[in-house]
């Protein structure tokens, strides 16, 4: 089943064409990687898909419904969640409360605090933050803040999760842990994932399919192996052939 489908999506900021007629799809159950150099339009694509701002032209359909121009909260409540590249934890709230907010206001819209709390604990277990549930988010390390960012968006119970560079700034051990977590989210929770990532090893390691953006245009799409050998991608982004 086609979960999200972007058709001729463009976004201009004044004279800057951040996205130009980009078509993209993500099928249910996939993990799709979105790569490209800085300024290629990856985060813009996320912002347009999650409703931070509307596209200049083009349409986005999610689960068959046209969501173009909807507000972020409406899109979240329909089952599309995102994380932010620069994480935005609610710093003075506890880790638990951060995650409960996803449960209370996301797709589930739980009415009862007690139920939300139990469900939030389950998600904290999954991402490995349960021992830190009671401390304020401001006391977390960057790696833990990134876990929290993922946990909070998972708490909205999404069908599709957009992960914006969750591996950036993590050390090798943390990166491996995060990759395991991403796989678990797909397998354990059945959440489809579209992820922006620069760490090529990780992209190739977890993604079924990769989309490459360059100056706002889609220049390639395919299996990780194909992308790594694609001439246009090597020229535009990778610089040299990547050993897989």
């Amino acid at each position: 089943m086609r979960l999200i489908e972007g058709f001729h999506v463009s976004k201009n900021f004044g004279g800057l064409k951040a996205l130009q007629n980009v078509d993209f799809t993500v099928e249910q159950g996939e993990i799709v990687g979105l790569i490209g150099a800085n300024g290629a339009g990856k985060t813009t694509l996320f912002n347009v898909a999650s409703g931070s701002y509307p596209p200049s032209s083009g349409t986005i359909r999610f689960k068959g419904e046209n969501i173009t121009g909807l507000k972020p909260y409406q899109i979240c409540q329909r089952g599309l969640a995102r994380t932010f590249q620069i994480v935005k934890p609610f710093l003075s709230m506890t880790v638990l409360r951060n995650v409960m907010i996803g449960k209370l206001f996301g797709k589930d819209r739980l009415r009862h605090r007690e139920v939300a709390e139990i469900e939030a604990h389950r998600i904290l277990d999954l991402v490995g933050l349960s021992s830190k549930a009671k401390i304020p988010a401001r006391e977390l390390t960057l790696a833990d803040r990134k876990r929290l960012e993922v946990a909070r968006s998972l708490a909205t119970n999404p069908d599709l999760l957009l992960l914006d560079e969750v591996l950036a700034g993590l050390n090798p051990t943390e990166t491996v842990e995060a990759m395991t977590l991403i796989r678990e989210i797909r397998q354990g929770l059945g959440v489809t994932i579209l992820m922006v990532e620069h760490v090529m090893k990780a992209v190739v390691g977890v993604c079924n399919r990769i989309i490459v953006l360059h100056y706002g245009q889609k220049i390639a799409e395919g299996m990780p192996q194909e992308i790594a050998e694609d001439k246009a991608v090597i020229e535009a982004y990778l610089g040299e052939k990547v050993e897989l």
Binding site: S52, P72, Y73, C76, A81, F90, M93, I101, R152, T156
Partner: protein
């Protein structure tokens, strides 16, 4: 559970005391308490928007003045109680009408915009009054007695503090606090931030409308310069920062302390009182940025945990 019972008991005792106060005290002390209650109502209602979402509003004076003028227009035409309720509803309605464009701007721009709102409403009323009556001020005749006004303000204050309390502990309040922490993240997590801010703005504006309506009768003379004075907004903000602007206890403590200090200093040091007050406020903002209540509260909680 035990603490909750104690809390309810304490609130009940305070309420009984406040109800009996006019029977025990002289008119001077009743009017001091009327002032006290008025500032509590204004501050507690102010934190519903500004304390919980971080949208610092200087617009409270606009709604206060609006309420006062509505009362001046309705006085002797409509029964007193209805006039107060109507003033509150009208203030909330006005806030709802201007809320969507106003709440699109954030941070310091919102502060400036709401300051402008107070000024604009002031000049609208100045011009309106000159057109209608030829003069600017209004004298209100046959106003209710001190005790009636005291009990009216008491009711409004109880409503404002209860609303601030229940909003904070509700799902709605959780949404408001998320907006304060990070509005974009709140929106991405499914919170309808525009609607939440708008609703908080309207609720917050209804109380200064009612307070203004009652206080117009208390003063029995109003003009736009005094009822739309930005000092009202400033005073509310100072009280909230003094006590702590994230919960109703802070609003109450801040309002009580500042009103009592003002009252005491005003009589004894009429010339230096503003300087003393300013110094006190600077010291508190500098050394207790969260206000007086949160640090004391967390210490109390820790002490109680130790005991049990």
């Amino acid at each position: 559970m035990g603490t909750r019972k104690h809390l309810l008991g304490a609130v009940g005792l305070v309420l009984i005391f406040l109800c009996l106060w006019p029977l025990l005290a002289s008119d001077y002390y009743v009017s001091v308490f009327l002032d006290l209650l008025m500032w509590i109502a204004l501050t507690a209602s102010w934190i519903i928007l500004s304390g919980y979402t971080g949208y610092i509003s200087l617009g409270h004076a606009a709604f206060y003045g609006l309420g006062a003028y509505l009362m001046a227009m309705m006085w002797t035409q409509i029964p007193y109680v209805f006039a107060v309720i109507l003033a509150g509803m009208f203030s909330a309605g006005f806030a709802f009408a201007i809320g969507f464009p106003f709440l699109r701007v954030r941070g310091p721009y919102f502060v400036i915009l709401t300051l402008g709102l107070t000024e604009i409403t002031k000049y609208i009323f100045i011009n309106l009054e000159i057109k209608l009556g030829g003069t600017v001020g209004r004298i209100l005749m046959m106003t209710p007695g001190l005790h009636t006004l005291y009990y009216s303000i008491l009711v409004v204050t109880v409503m404002a503090t209860a609303t601030a309390y229940f909003v904070k502990n509700s799902r709605f309040g959780t949404g408001l606090f998320s907006i304060k922490e990070d509005e974009d993240a709140a929106s991405a997590l499914g919170i309808n931030t525009s609607f939440y801010k708008w609703l908080a703005f309207g609720i917050s504006a209804s109380f200064p409308g009612m307070v203004g309506a009652v206080l117009a009768l208390r003063r029995s003379y109003i003009d736009p310069y005094t009822v739309f004075s930005p000092i009202v907004s400033f005073q509310v903000i100072v009280m909230a920062f003094l006590g702590g602007l994230e919960d109703v206890e802070g609003a109450i403590v801040g309002a009580v302390i500042l009103t009592l200090i003002s009252e005491a200093l005003w009589a004894r040091y009429p010339y230096t009182y503003m300087i003393i007050l300013g110094t006190v406020v600077i010291l508190i903002v500098k050394f207790m940025p969260l206000g007086l209540v949160p640090p004391i509260k967390s210490r109390l909680i820790k002490a109680m945990e130790k005991e049990s």
